[in-house]
C-alpha cells in the first residue's frame, strides 16, 4: 500500500476570472504507506499543508506531476481500485465546523461509510463498529449517536472525525490538525491510539500539525513547509533538536512554554 506524489504540484488561478496565478505547492516527491510510518507536516498557515493533504486524498488534481496509489495514477484508477483507494486512504479534515452536513445525525457519518465500504452488512451490524470507534476517542456512544453536529462541542466534532477514519481501518490516514481542538489529556489519549495503530496495525499517518511537541512525541520523520515548498525534512529528533534551517528554529522557539515563570516575549514589540 503505497501513496506517492511524483513531482506533484498545485497552482491556482492564472485565468481571467480566477485572478493571478498562485503556487500553492511546488512540485514535490513524497511516499507514504510502504512501511508503517508517521510523517509530521509542519509549517505556517498558507504554506500548503492542506493543499498537500487534498492532493493525497484525491480531492484536488495536481496541476503538474501525479499522485500514485500502488504505482497507478489516482486520477486514472478503474472503479474497483478507486473504491479500494477511497477506503484505504482516510482523512481527518482540518476544520470540524465545516466538515459536517448539518441536516444529518452523526450516526450517519459512521454507519454510511461502514456500509459503503463493506465493513458491515446492515445498520444493526454497523452500530457496534461505530460504538467502538467512538469509545476509542473518549466519546460516549449513547450520548453522541442520535445528535446533530451542532449539538456537539468543537473537540467532540473533531474526535468524531478521528473515530470515523479509524473505524475504516485505513492503511494511510491523512490527518490535518486532528487534535488541535481538544485538551492536552485527550490529545495524549488520541495520539496514543494513532501511535498504536502505526506500531500494532501497520497504519501510516500523515500528521499535519503546528504542535511540534506532539509531532516530537509520535512522528518518525518531519517535513517543514513554507510558502508551498519543503524547506527541511528529516528524522524527527534531529529536525527538532538540531534544525538546519532558521525557519525551523523559529517554529520551535515560537512554542509557548507551559510555565508562567519563563518569559516567552509576548510583551516585547518585535
Amino acid at each position: 500500500m503505497t501513496l506517492e506524489l511524483k513531482s506533484a504540484g498545485v497552482s491556482f488561478g492564472g485565468t481571467l476570472f480566477a485572478g493571478p496565478r498562485k503556487r500553492a505547492l511546488a512540485p514535490l516527491d513524497l511516499s507514504i504507506g510502504a512501511t508503517p510510518h508517521i510523517l509530521a507536516v509542519v509549517g505556517e498557515s498558507g504554506s500548503g499543508k492542506t493543499t498537500l493533504t487534498r492532493l493525497l486524498l484525491g480531492l484536488l488534481r495536481p496541476t503538474s506531476g501525479a499522485v500514485m496509489w500502488n504505482g497507478r495514477d489516482v486520477w486514472r484508477l478503474p472503479k474497483p481500485e478507486f473504491q479500494e483507494y477511497r477506503r484505504a486512504v482516510q482523512a481527518v479534515f482540518q476544520d470540524p465546523f465545516g466538515a459536517y452536513n448539518p441536516v444529518y445525525r452523526v450516526d450517519r457519518m459512521l454507519t454510511l461509510p461502514a456500509l459503503r465500504f463493506g465493513l458491515a452488512a446492515s445498520e444493526e451490524t454497523a452500530r457496534p463498529l461505530a460504538e467502538a470507534a467512538l469509545a476509542a476517542v473518549g466519546l460516549r456512544p449513547a450520548e453522541t449517536l442520535g445528535r446533530f453536529p451542532h449539538q456537539l462541542s468543537g473537540g467532540q466534532r473533531q474526535r468524531l472525525m478521528v473515530a470515523r477514519a479509524m473505524m475504516l481501518k485505513p492503511s494511510v490516514l491523512i490527518a490535518d490538525e486532528p487534535v488541535s481542538m481538544v485538551d492536552a489529556s485527550l490529545r495524549a489519549t488520541i495520539l496514543e491510539t494513532l501511535y498504536r495503530l502505526r506500531h500494532e496495525e501497520r497504519m501510516s499517518l500523515l500528521y499535519v500539525t503546528h504542535d511540534l511537541a506532539t509531532a516530537y512525541q509520535i512522528a518518525d520523520s518531519i517535513i517543514v513547509m513554507r510558502d508551498g515548498e519543503v524547506v527541511e525534512q528529516g528524522e524527527t529528533v534531529s529536525v527538532i533538536r538540531t534544525p538546519a534551517q532558521s525557519y525551523t528554529r523559529d517554529l520551535v522557539a515560537a512554542l509557548p512554554p507551559p510555565d508562567p515563570t519563563i518569559d516567552w516575549g509576548l510583551e516585547s514589540s518585535s
Binding site: 482540518q94 481542538m181 485538551d183 503546528h210 504542535d211 515560537a254 509557548p256 509576548l266
Partner: protein, 312 residues
C-alpha cells in the same frame, strides 16, 4: 468594580434524551483589563459559558439561571435591542471555528464596513487597513472573499473584526487553535497590545496550556460543566489544587522521552444525569468515600484561588 460579573450561571440544552446540563453554577468576576484563561476537558462547557456571556445560546439551549452583569445590565435578561447595541461594541466574540463565521458572499472589507455601519461608527479604508495590519494582514485582504484565504488568514480577519469597535470585554474561543505557532504568537501579541491599549478584559478559551501560561493572569479550569478551580496562573502551574488540574498539566508533552502518553483514563460523566458526588470522582486517583456521595462546594483558598474538591 469588575468589568464583568458572572453569578451562578446554569445553561441547559433540551435534547431527545433529556436535559444536557452543559454549564452548572459557574461564577467568576473579571476585573477591567484582566486576562482570564478558561481551560478544561473537551465538552466541559467552555464554549457554552463563553457564548452565554453574549447571550448567544440558541434554542433548544437556554440560560436556565444566573446573572451576567456588564455595565450594570444583566446580559442574561437583556432585551434584543440592548443586546444588539452591546455585542461587538461592549463585548465582542471571536467564535470557535471563527473561520466559518465570515460571510462567504462579502469581501473582507465589506464585513468591516457592515460592522461599522451597524454601530454608526466611523469606518473607512484607512481604518480597515490599520485593523488588518494589526493582525498581520495586508490591505489587499480587504478586497478578497473568505474562500480566497487560508484558514489562518480567515482567523486573523475574525480577530480584527472583534477588536474593531474597541469593546470592554473580548471573548475569544480558541482563536489560534487553527494557526501555526508563529502566527499564533503574533496574534497573541496583537491581542495583548489591543487589550492593553483599550483596557479591555479578555476571556480566552483554549486548550494550549503553554499559551495560557503566557497570556492569562488567572486560569479557570472546567470539568463536566463546573468551574472546578480558579486561581492565579502561577499557582495553577506551581501548585494545582484540583486533581483534574494536576492531571491535565501532567499530560502535557515535553521534548524528553518520545512515545509516552499521559492521558487521563476514563470518560467524563454524562451531563444528562446528575451524579450525587463530585463529577471527577470516577476518574480521580484521590477520591475517597465522601467524594462519590457529596458534591464539593467551592472553597476560597489562601492566596485568592478557589477550588471545588473535598481533598484539595
Amino acid at each position: 468594580m469588575s468589568a464583568l460579573a458572572v453569578r451562578g450561571l446554569c445553561v441547559e440544552f433540551a435534547s431527545a434524551r433529556g436535559i444536557v446540563r452543559a454549564v452548572q453554577n459557574v461564577s467568576f468576576d473579571l476585573a477591567p483589563g484582566e486576562r482570564l484563561g478558561l481551560v478544561g476537558e473537551s465538552g466541559s462547557g467552555k464554549t457554552t459559558t463563553a457564548l452565554s456571556l453574549l447571550s448567544l445560546i440558541r434554542p433548544p439551549g437556554r440560560i436556565a439561571s444566573g446573572e451576567i452583569l456588564l455595565d450594570g445590565v444583566d446580559i442574561a435578561r437583556a432585551t434584543p435591542s440592548a443586546l444588539r447595541r452591546m455585542r461587538a461594541a461592549r463585548i465582542a466574540l471571536v467564535p470557535q471555528g471563527a473561520m466559518n463565521a465570515l460571510n462567504p458572499v462579502l469581501t473582507c472589507g465589506a464585513q468591516f464596513a457592515d460592522l461599522f455601519a451597524a454601530h454608526g461608527a466611523p469606518g473607512g479604508t484607512a481604518r480597515i487597513a490599520k485593523l488588518l495590519a494589526s493582525v498581520g494582514l495586508g490591505v489587499e485582504v480587504a478586497t478578497l472573499y473568505p474562500h480566497q484565504l487560508s484558514g489562518g488568514m480567515k482567523q486573523r480577519v475574525c480577530i480584527a473584526l472583534a477588536i474593531a469597535l474597541r469593546p470592554a470585554v473580548i471573548v475569544a474561543d480558541e482563536p489560534t487553535s487553527a494557526l501555526d505557532v508563529i502566527v499564533q504568537k503574533q496574534i497573541l501579541k496583537t491581542l495583548l497590545a489591543v487589550q492593553r491599549d483599550i483596557g479591555a478584559a479578555v476571556v480566552l478559551v483554549g486548550h494550549d496550556m503553554g499559551l495560557m501560561a503566557q497570556f492569562a493572569h488567572r486560569i479557570g479550569v472546567m470539568y463536566a460543566g463546573r468551574l472546578v478551580e480558579l486561581a492565579f496562573v502561577r499557582d495553577i502551574f506551581a501548585t494545582p489544587r484540583h486533581p483534574y488540574t494536576r492531571m491535565l498539566i501532567d499530560s502535557l508533552p515535553g521534548f524528553g522521552a518520545r512515545g509516552v502518553f499521559k492521558g487521563i483514563p476514563g470518560l467524563p460523566p454524562s451531563l444528562l444525569t446528575a451524579l450525587p458526588g463530585c463529577s471527577f470522582a470516577p476518574r480521580c486517583p484521590r477520591a475517597g468515600p465522601r467524594c462519590t456521595v457529596e458534591m464539593p462546594q467551592t472553597r476560597i483558598l489562601e492566596g485568592g484561588g478557589e477550588v471545588r474538591c473535598h481533598d484539595a
